[in-house]
Symmetry: C2
């Protein structure tokens, strides 16, 4: 299939589907070849029954990796075909235990040789090929169990996008974004306070002129995240990290992390030994981020903000 060479690995699903169709189509013909009156889709259920003697529908479904309704339907078909029967002698009346009939046992014997032939044929293909499909499927089952494809793709997305994020110094043109991004989250969770308006309306005067810093995260040249380093007086800390905000539209790009790291770096450059922050525990993702950045809880400082119920510090 030339198509797959062009399209790349993202068509893996399609490629698998086609191979599945090729293999299962031939499976039907194989039963015919051996003169067995049997439908391929019955096989996993039938095999389990032949092994286990007596088992419930839900147990079968779990064993073979089908949904319960799928097994339910297959069981009904096989009962109609006379291969299995309900065994009734269970106490739990919800359960529908099934066993092979005489005819079923006969077919299971008849089928044995066929399965061996198929096994040999497939082993033959594996021997002819450089890459072992059977072993590869086993490995993939394990690896995707460990970490699903969607998880892996989303990690790759994050990694790539965070490369496209630039952290730059504040410029007057970013004042609007600095204000809007902060107002957005503050007014969602709390109420805007006096101290907020001062800093957000006039960052030059209230933050920069006092010796603080503001960093802006740009994605595709748009400001999508901001964070300030505010000079503290009469305190064991030189700076407070505050007014961190990331646009919800730009989530999943590790922008908070990148801003936090950059702010800590900047504080170090400015000679700080420790930085301080205030937050609220209802902001769970934020608190998580602070822990990841290395902040730890502290107690007892005074704060002008009502919304503060947790205080943290980062030793640089």
């Amino acid at each position: 299939m030339e198509f797959f060479d062009k399209v790349g690995k993202s068509a893996l699903g399609s490629r698998l589907r086609l191979m599945t169709a090729v293999v299962t189509d031939d499976a039907a013909k194989i039963y015919e070849l051996y003169g067995v009156d049997f439908v391929p889709k019955w096989f996993p259920v039938f095999y389990t029954l032949a092994e286990e003697r007596e088992i419930t529908i839900t147990e079968i479904a779990n064993e073979i990796g089908h949904s319960q309704p799928s097994v339910s339907k297959i069981i009904q078909e096989m009962i109609a075909a006379g291969l299995i029967e309900e065994s009734a002698k269970t106490e739990d009346k919800r359960k529908n235990n099934v066993v092979l009939t005489e005819k079923g046992i006969l077919i299971s014997k008849k089928i044995k040789q066929q399965l061996e032939d198929i096994d040999v044929a497939i082993e033959g293909i594996i021997a002819e090929s450089k890459h072992n499909l059977w072993a590869a499927l086993e490995e993939w089952e394990f690896l995707l169990e460990q970490k699903s494809l969607i998880k892996r793709v989303s990690e790759q997305k994050k990694k790539r996008e965070s490369k496209d994020v630039k952290i730059v110094d504040y410029k007057p043109e970013y004042q609007e974004a600095f204000r809007a991004l902060n107002v957005e989250w503050i007014s969602t969770y709390f109420e805007m306070e006096e101290a907020d308006y001062k800093a957000l309306d006039n960052p030059e005067e209230y933050i920069l002129k006092k010796g603080g810093k503001i960093l802006v995260a740009l994605y595709e040249n748009e400001p999508v995240g901001v964070c300030a380093l505010i000079k503290m007086n009469n305190s064991e800390y030189d700076f407070e990290m505050a007014k961190m905000a990331v646009s919800p539209k730009a989530q999943g790009k590790s922008i908070g992390w990148l801003l936090g790291k950059a702010i800590a770096e900047k504080a170090k450059e400015l000679g700080a030994k420790k930085i301080y922050l205030e937050s609220n525990t209802i902001l769970k993702p934020a608190i998580n981020l602070y822990y990841k950045l290395g902040f730890e809880k502290v107690f007892g400082l005074e704060t002008p903000y009502k919304r503060c119920n947790i205080q943290m510090e980062l030793v640089l």
Copy 2:
């Protein structure tokens, strides 16, 4: 999936189906993650259109390995979603050429980054694993194209069963089978003749006592094939191979081949240089077998049989 360890390679179809489901389920989530309003099953069609600019439904189906009705339905859905449109400017009015709309082109650009991320994620899994699933699928596509699974299984069946066939010397207890197997095919295609009755009713006298041989093929201890080596007098040949018959129930076990080989071997043992046979060209499988055994056409000998329209010899 423990099930697959127990059940063996014959469950390859089931295993493939499960892996396909795992991968395609995540594919849907991936489109969601990237905020693209897109159904995974559209992808192969969409990709082809994005590459080829303008192409008919049947061409797409062939390219991506789907059936034409499948593509037909997908096209309809994508038209409804506004991603593609009919391009009308074809002369052949049967054809329904389709192209991407503006919106489609936009999405194709949007999707590009996503495909790259998936590619990287899958490459990551491949790098983590010892057995390359992608490469294995490619190899299997090639190998099954060369020789299908059903062909391989049927060859294995034949091989195994021919091992269970024993070629033994004639004993009086096989007279009935010798007669019945021959009467079956002769009376199906021709009419029994005088010479047939003589040899079949009294093989001891008409074949063995005159220095001929009869071999019997046993499968599960039942006589399922017979073949005679008849002494010829006043001829360049020492023996004629005749009365070869195989039960239709025992077909596909190479019994004709095994009998023919054994008869030739026996003739050699008896000092013959060439053996001769008579047949009729309407018996195509038989003629094919004779060629495979090394017989070649000859002309001009006299024969007592009306049904003979081809004569052959094998140089030993």
